[in-house]
Symmetry: C2
Subunit: 340 residues, 2 copies
DNA sequence: CTGAAAGCGCTTACAG
DNA sequence: CTGAAAGCGCTTACAG
């Protein structure tokens, strides 16, 4: 059932069918009415590929994330897709599994599909891939890939605001000995969280002890192990900030296993503010990354750089992180080591 | 940069370009070689819309889920997408937010895109929508929507095997008083979990007390409330099965707040086996729904019903559920009510 | 092994 | 307000 067929049955040209389909105002109301009815009766479904080929726009956006199994992403995807749907735009979704070489492949595939724009929400980076995308003229936007000065459309996530809030909160509770579970240095976002921690400690005039900075791989297990390491130190910290929530959950588990009560004997703050923070015991305080805001910015930027066909870079929005307080922090125990 | 342009530069026809692109064997090796090189130099990206229009197949599959924020779905999406990628197929992803009227809209949009098939992984049902899809001739497969006898391609999830394992496990530990947190009756999957619970109880010859069956809305908060209701009963159960993990987490939280130790004083088993089960305290035992298996079946069935253009229904695979034991169950306290 | 040509199903500038 | 016709960028049956 194509337009030809409909046109024959309605005794009009395909041009008129097309006009009715697209709600053109220059169709005589009675014709419009009649064609609409026939369209419905025939259960006509237009062919988007033909339309895309003709018009050059697909009403499709691409969304690339690192890892759909990471609970950080669903809300971001949700928000992006909801905004797209409002505008009658579909979303092709793909993920790289943190492999930067897959990024180029993903971009290419999306560009072949004539997507109108691509949001790249990955931890890993691949400049060759970005250059390729730029050459193709397909609008794209990076989230938290780069600092403020990059040639590409970009959204900047300010990790400092949230890290400072977290450290200030701990300091105000009386903590002087604060550890950090760091992430791999290969990702921009984990690097900037590390820097944010150091800077915040400086701001509140607390000394960072190198042996209290332990590196994990972002998974829960490595947080568990990092916590065990921290607990073996003498002296040991009375609180910690973790690069992400998953590792903080591991730390929570380790504390529990060692009979250390959180928050009474040890305070923990995560990073990400995953929905699961409400489900663990105690509920985990965490620095929120405003994923929905990020998604909305990305969507708007793609829309804008698509419509205006403009080549120049759009202004880079900055989104702030902020501490979401739950129940995993308290004043430090009276005299750390001798407790119990 | 289209094929015309490449053809001119390579001094061959577009037919030859197309053959090289598609790896046809009937091209003279030297020509193949030369054209390939030029293709690379020119950074040519084929136009998939044109190809789809011409060939009638899009190398695109649609995937519809109810709710991406539900941690049940990411693994399913992951598996489906991974299999698609292996075959050079992209996935358009969309979700209904549990609104059955959105289902038809989603299907229509995917069909307009000429997707080669659609996997419908939703809780809600909409028969009008399925009929519409069937009329369109676009292959689609439902997961756990229907029983074994339906005109549509379908994957059957056997909740009984897992529920029985769970109840048998509790019975073997010595539990005689087992409650159930039910889900809404509007979803097929929650209905069949309820039936599976009743049947399992019958099998182990335990009586179900109506006042120990409490209904929730699948969210954590309602599990919390359900648990509080159960704890107020006299006599009260010593264990419970929950229709899903999220509500079981709520129950866990409620127990904790009321100073009831899980599993020493109360055993809890969930349904879904979400990755988060490992992150709560104590780790939650849960009936696993083999989502990756479901996704794989769905993918294979779409591939098959696409290639053979066959109209008849494919055989319905059955996937079994099974208990995944963690740490949230133990023998009941010696004398339930008088404990402590 | 290669090319000329038709045609997939739309939209739109143009003419009336 | 409506239609005839061109053309978007591919693939493929056909001819050579």
């Amino acid at each position: 059932m194509n337009m030809q067929e409909v046109a024959r049955r309605a005794k009009v040209s395909t041009a008129t069918i097309s006009r009715v389909l697209n709600g053109s105002s220059k169709v005589k109301p009675s014709t419009f009415e009649r064609v609409s009815r026939i369209l419905n009766e025939l259960n006509y479904v237009p062919n988007t590929s033909a339309r895309t080929l003709r018009v050059g726009k697909s009403q499709l956006l691409g969304l690339i994330v690192s890892d759909i199994n990471n609970p950080f992403f669903p809300e971001l995807i949700d928000d992006f897709e909801a905004r797209a749907r409002e505008q009658g735009i579909d979303v092709v979704f793909t993920h790289t599994n943190y492999q930067s070489d897959r990024l180029e492949h993903c971009l290419r595939r999306l560009i072949e599909r004539n997507v109108d724009g691509i949001a790249v929400c990955t931890s890993e980076t691949n400049h060759a891939a970005f250059e390729f995308a730029a050459r193709s003229r397909c609008p794209f936007v990076l989230t938290n890939q780069e600092g403020l000065r990059t040639p590409y459309n970009n959204i900047y996530v300010d990790h400092k605001s949230g890290a400072l809030e977290a450290i200030q909160h701990l300091a105000k509770l009386g903590h002087r000995s604060i550890g950090f579970i760091a992430g791999p240095t290969s990702f921009g976002s984990t690097r900037s969280r590390r820097e944010a921690f150091f800077e915040a400690m400086k701001t509140v005039r607390l000394k960072v002890r190198d042996e209290w900075v332990v590196e994990g791989d972002l998974h829960m297990e490595s947080g568990h192990e990092a916590m065990e390491q921290l607990l073996r130190k003498t002296p040991r910290p009375t609180a910690l900030l973790s690069t992400n929530d998953l590792m903080a959950f591991g730390a929570l588990r380790a504390a529990h296993e060692h009979g250390i009560a959180v928050p009474e004997e040890f305070s923990i703050i995560g990073f990400d503010n995953l929905p699961i923070c409400d489900m663990v015991t105690p509920p985990l305080s965490s620095v929120d990354i405003p994923r929905r805001q990020i998604a909305s910015h990305a969507f708007r930027m793609l829309l804008k750089s698509g419509e205006s066909r403009l080549e120049r870079k759009l202004p880079t929005p900055t989104v702030k992180t902020a501490l979401k307080l739950r129940a995993s922090t308290a004043p430090p125990p009276k005299s750390g080591k001798h407790q119990r």
